[in-house]
């Protein structure tokens, strides 16, 4: 097992300089998740406009490089996308985390760097933490609309 697979440069970069790490009074998606294994916690915020487009996305919280980088990349990847597109990204990301090869990786952008996590099963929970929050947020949004 090579650690380089896990700690790709782009991951360390997102960890050191997280994008969109700030609070939003979103009035939209605002979901907190915690990983009881290690105490990592993440809150994901998404502002969705009237046409169903995520005009802003951000996160807060603390945790390991994997959970932080994953959240940071998530916010970049979903910004400006429509909610149903975002659902597709969530699905593709989960597939990647389940070790499934396949199309859709190109849609994941930087997130492909997280592919190496698959070889570290206990760390998958870190990578998906923000995504669990996002998915919960989308369900809540869809119930409300």
């Amino acid at each position: 097992m090579s650690l380089d697979d896990l700690y790709r440069e782009v991951i360390l970069d997102h960890y050191r300089s997280p994008r969109n790490k700030r609070h939003i009074d979103s009035g939209g998606i605002d979901v907190h998740r915690n990983n009881p294994l290690c105490g990592d916690d993440i809150t994901v915020y998404v502002v969705v406009d009237a046409t169903g487009v995520a005009t802003d996305a951000a996160f807060e919280g603390q945790g390991c490089s994997i959970s932080q980088a994953s959240a940071s990349m998530l916010t970049e990847q979903i910004r400006g996308k429509k909610v149903d597109e975002i659902e597709g990204i969530v699905l593709n990301f989960r597939k990647m985390m389940a070790g499934e090869e396949g199309p859709g990786e190109e849609e994941l952008g930087d997130l492909v760097a997280l592919k190496g996590v698959v070889k570290y099963p206990v760390r998958i929970k870190c990578a998906v933490l923000a995504w669990d929050a996002l998915q919960e947020g989308i369900s809540q949004y869809e119930k409300a609309h």
Binding site: L3, Y7, L37, G39, G63, C64, S65, R123
Partner: protein, 414 residues
């Protein structure tokens, strides 16, 4: 004094290699310990020669199993200085023992407004059971603060004890390593009219424990953290307390006479052992106690002080590494929690794992303490009788590798 390099040979798992060819370095002893050949053999012998339920059969195997099981109880009673084996209840774990006290004693004795004192360094297992029982009874939890250097704040003692019904305190912290002054706490608590429940999950395996000298009322311990099988553990309590407490779990063995709507209960400790107990596991714990007695608990403690001294010295040499808990190795056990700048403990543990080292990262089931320390998590290495200076050196080397992987950035990432 034993040589840990010789002791290691008694533990088959320490031959293991992980991640290809890396020799296993087990440094998560605060979570669970490895098992010596003697304990494993004891289990095999039980299942191959004596397996039977206990207490209820009149045949040869039932007699043998009962004698082994009750023999283990007597060994454990002697190990912790109990006045007799009727004061030892077998459970699965320290957690179960603590829940037993919270439920059997707590539900019968707590009223609205009563105070339950819980230290800020308690493990969730000595906190959540009290949350559940205070929620049910209307009593309230009072946190006992700690000082900056990781000791119980004794200045706060008179305040927290005022009006307290019970004080829940760990013998040794599983995060800070702090050894708490149980006798002093017990004397003050008793003077204030409170009972004292000691969580000995970390203390009993590592310290010379004598309940008579401690003057506490309850002591929970965990067999799997002292070389015993998983599923072993127990509770010591003063006989008068056990006698007066209602039962916790109901079922076979804990009864005398049963009608459809009521029953009378067996004598202690059986009143608290409902159903088929963890028979082989408790017998295996007896074998672990034999093994520890052969090493000698004085020497177990001396080895621990020695290796912690070395570990603290070496870790302090690492730039940007902060160790939590007392600085003096004679005031702490073999649990060393630390934070390494720029490296989240979770990442750190993954990296050292690739070198074969098992250390723990996280909140260590002590989230309130993490808040007090101002960290989301720590890394934790914890030592036991088979750990050597080589293991400490391997840890230091692996930490170097972790630092390399995460080339230095700026400060704590939170």
């Amino acid at each position: 004094m034993f040589d840990p390099k010789v002791v290691r040979k008694d533990f088959p798992i320490l031959e293991r290699r992980v991640h290809g060819d890396k020799p296993l370095v087990w440094l998560d002893n605060a979570s669970t310990t490895q098992k010596p050949r003697r304990v494993i053999d004891c289990l095999v012998d039980f299942y191959e020669h004596h397996n039977s339920n206990v207490h209820r059969g009149v045949y040869a195997l039932a007699e043998e199993a009962t004698e082994l099981y009750e023999g283990a109880r007597a060994k454990i009673a002697a190990f912790i200085g109990a006045s007799g084996k009727r004061e030892i209840v077998f459970t699965r774990s320290a957690t179960e023992s603590l829940n037993l006290v919270a439920n059997a004693w707590g539900r019968a004795n707590l009223k609205p407004g009563d105070k339950v004192v819980v230290t800020e360094m308690e493990h969730h297992s000595n906190l959540i059971p009290w949350q559940l029982v205070t929620q049910a009874t209307g009593a309230q939890i009072v946190p006992w603060p700690i000082t900056d250097d990781g000791f119980l704040d004794l200045e706060a003692m008179p305040r927290v004890l005022d009006g307290a019904k019970i004080v829940c305190v760990s013998q040794m912290s599983n995060v800070l390593g702090t050894i708490n002054p149980i006798r002093q706490v017990a004397d003050a608590a008793h003077a204030a009219g409170a009972l004292v429940l000691v969580d000995g999950a970390q203390g009993v395996p590592h310290l010379i424990t004598n309940v008579a000298e401690m003057e506490a009322d309850f002591l929970a311990f965990s067999g799997h953290k002292m070389l015993g099988p998983t599923g072993s553990g127990g509770l010591w309590a003063r006989a008068e307390l056990l006698d007066a407490m209602p039962p916790f779990l109901g079922g076979g063995e804990m009864i005398l006479e049963v009608w459809i709507d009521h029953a009378t209960y067996n004598e202690i400790p059986y009143k608290f052992e409902a159903g088929t107990p963890n028979i082989a596991q408790s017998i295996g714990l007896g074998a672990a106690v034999d093994y520890l007695n052969d090493l000698g608990m004085e020497d177990v403690r001396a080895h621990e002080i020695e290796i912690v001294t070395y570990a603290l010295d070496e870790l302090r040499k690492i730039d940007g590494l902060k160790v939590f808990g007392p600085a003096d190795p004679t005031k702490r056990g073999g649990v060393v929690s630390f934070w390494m700048e720029d490296l989240h403990p979770h990442d750190l543990a993954t990296i050292v794992d690739t070198e074969g080292l098992a250390i723990r990262a996280g909140h260590h089931c002590a989230q309130p303490l993490m808040r007090v320390l101002g960290v989301p998590a720590t890394s934790r290495a914890s030592f036991y009788v088979y750990n050597t200076h080589d293991d400490v050196d391997a840890l230091v080397a692996a930490l170097g590798k972790a630092r390399e992987t995460f080339a230095r950035g700026g400060g704590l990432p939170f």
